[in-house]
């Protein structure tokens, strides 16, 4: 990633309140640069998933603005579908479409939304399945896959829309430990391939290894932002130190 790369996502003064009382996010500012891998870490309930989900308006902010490629996101805007196409999302619980095969899961949106021809969509799906190492599962249904395989299909499905950024919402948190590695390996390849990625994760070692920048959040606010070394090795804030000590990694 070049340091002079332009911002692809800009979050300004983002506040999110649930049911009027719980402050999930308080006045958060953040920017994501083109080609950057940004990890968001922090204790559960710190608002990191909410922040990520606000970036493509899966959660609608209570106040504040989100800019994506210089467009202000607005849930009432018809344009929102067009913009979401370009922001792939990978979910903790995979959310594959259970009534569709692996192939159909991947080709559905390119065909419907991008109006891609059937042949081209299938060619693309085959490429992507090879990329995530699941060529042999093309005709399987989600229920026949392991958690790790499901998540890799979900990544392929998101990539099929040729997004400019991929948002990962705790992609390995629902996986059995022995399946975490295969998913992280796919993500690592994407990161090295130059994909812009925002990753909410509990995998500290992974965050340290692949991130260009790490954001530490607590109680709905960003406590500290820096390179992996700055945040993991020489954290400035007491809150960060406590958290890292508790997760017991460094």
């Amino acid at each position: 990633m070049q340091t002079n790369a332009k911002d692809i996502i800009v979050v300004k003064g983002l506040t999110k309140t649930f049911k009027g009382t719980i402050h999930a996010l308080v006045n958060v500012d953040l920017h994501v640069k083109q080609g950057e891998v940004l990890s968001i870490i922090g204790p559960s309930g710190s608002g990191k998933s909410t922040l990520l989900r606000c970036m493509n308006l899966m959660e609608v902010p209570t106040s504040g603005t989100i800019l994506f490629e210089e467009h202000t996101l607005n849930i009432k805007d018809k344009n929102i579908n067009k913009l979401r196409e370009k922001m792939g999302m990978v979910f903790q619980s995979f959310n594959l479409f259970p009534h569709l095969s692996v192939l159909e899961n991947i080709t559905l949106s390119p065909r419907l939304v991008l109006k891609m021809s059937d042949e081209n969509a299938v060619i693309l799906a085959k490429q992507l399945l090879e990329q995530v190492g699941l060529s042999d599962k093309i005709d399987a249904y989600p229920s026949q896959l392991s958690g790790g395989q499901k998540q890799r299909v979900a990544i392929a499905r998101a990539l099929a829309m040729k997004p400019d950024v991929l948002l990962f919402d705790e992609p390995t948190s629902a996986l059995d430990p022995e399946m975490v590695g295969e998913v992280l390996a796919v993500m690592k390849n994407l990161a090295f391939g130059g994909m812009t990625m925002v990753i909410v994760t509990h995998e500290m070692a992974f965050a340290k290894e692949v991130s260009d920048r790490v954001v530490f959040m607590a109680e709905g606010s960003i406590v500290e932002t820096g390179t992996p070394e700055e945040v993991f090795v020489v954290p400035k804030e007491e809150r960060t130190k406590q958290f890292l000590k508790r997760v017991n990694v460094y």
């Binding site: 579908n81 979401r84 619980s93 959310n95 594959l96 419907l112 939304v113």
Partner: protein, 206 residues
């Protein structure tokens, strides 16, 4: 035979018609939601018998035969059943749609699909699996209900109404009053059920 045919047609037509209030009730728009809710509550909250009598009264089709069936009683009977089953089936459809995991909508929308596309390609195909078993139940119920009012004898009923009509001009009003009284009894119950349903759904959310 007549009963089965009535029940089958009622569930089929009612099922198709039921999509309208089901989707209206799921809408974010109050002007769609409120009338659909009112429709469902009124139909569910008044006895079928009252509805049937009202429809007879309002349609008032003279006796004529098609294939040995008296259309004068068949058509109003069918209309009443369709209306009745549409309200129940719309609740089944709504429940079936709500039972589809929220993550499915999120995944579809994150891929740039519109809400209509998401409903058609992702939610409804999955909701049907939730809807079908309950639809079978509804079919059984409707069969029972038809047999009840068939057993009463529609022709006889019309005769009775004829007598009543002779003594009082306000027959329609009488039926409406009876319906309202039942509604007073059933509406609080159905509100209570809604509350419980809401609690249950909250418990599922993280």
């Amino acid at each position: 035979m007549m009963t089965l045919m009535l029940a089958f047609l009622a569930v089929l037509l009612g099922g198709i018609l039921a999509m309208v209030p089901a989707l209206m009730r799921l809408s974010k728009n109050k002007f769609l939601r409120v009338p659909a809710t009112a429709y469902v509550e009124i139909i569910r909250g008044t006895p079928m018998l009252v509805q049937v009598l009202l429809i007879y009264q309002l349609l008032n089709i003279p006796l004529f035969l098609i294939g040995g069936l008296d259309m004068g009683s068949f058509i109003p009977g069918l209309v009443a059943l369709v209306i009745n089953s549409s309200a129940y089936v719309s609740e089944i459809i709504r429940g079936g749609i709500l039972a589809v995991d929220k993550g499915q909508t999120e995944a579809a929308r994150s891929l740039g699909m519109s809400s209509t596309m998401t409903m058609k390609k992702i939610i409804l195909p999955q909701a049907i699996k939730n809807i079908f078993p309950a639809l079978g139940n509804e079919f059984v119920t409707i069969i029972k209900e038809t047999s009840i009012f068939m057993y009463l004898g529609i022709a006889e009923l019309m005769y009775q109404v004829g007598i009543l009509k002779a003594s009082s001009p306000a027959v329609t009003e009488l039926y409406i009053v009876a319906g309202l009284m039942y509604l007073v009894l059933t509406y609080p119950l159905s509100k209570l059920m809604n509350k419980i349903e809401g609690r249950l759904r909250h418990a599922d959310e993280r």
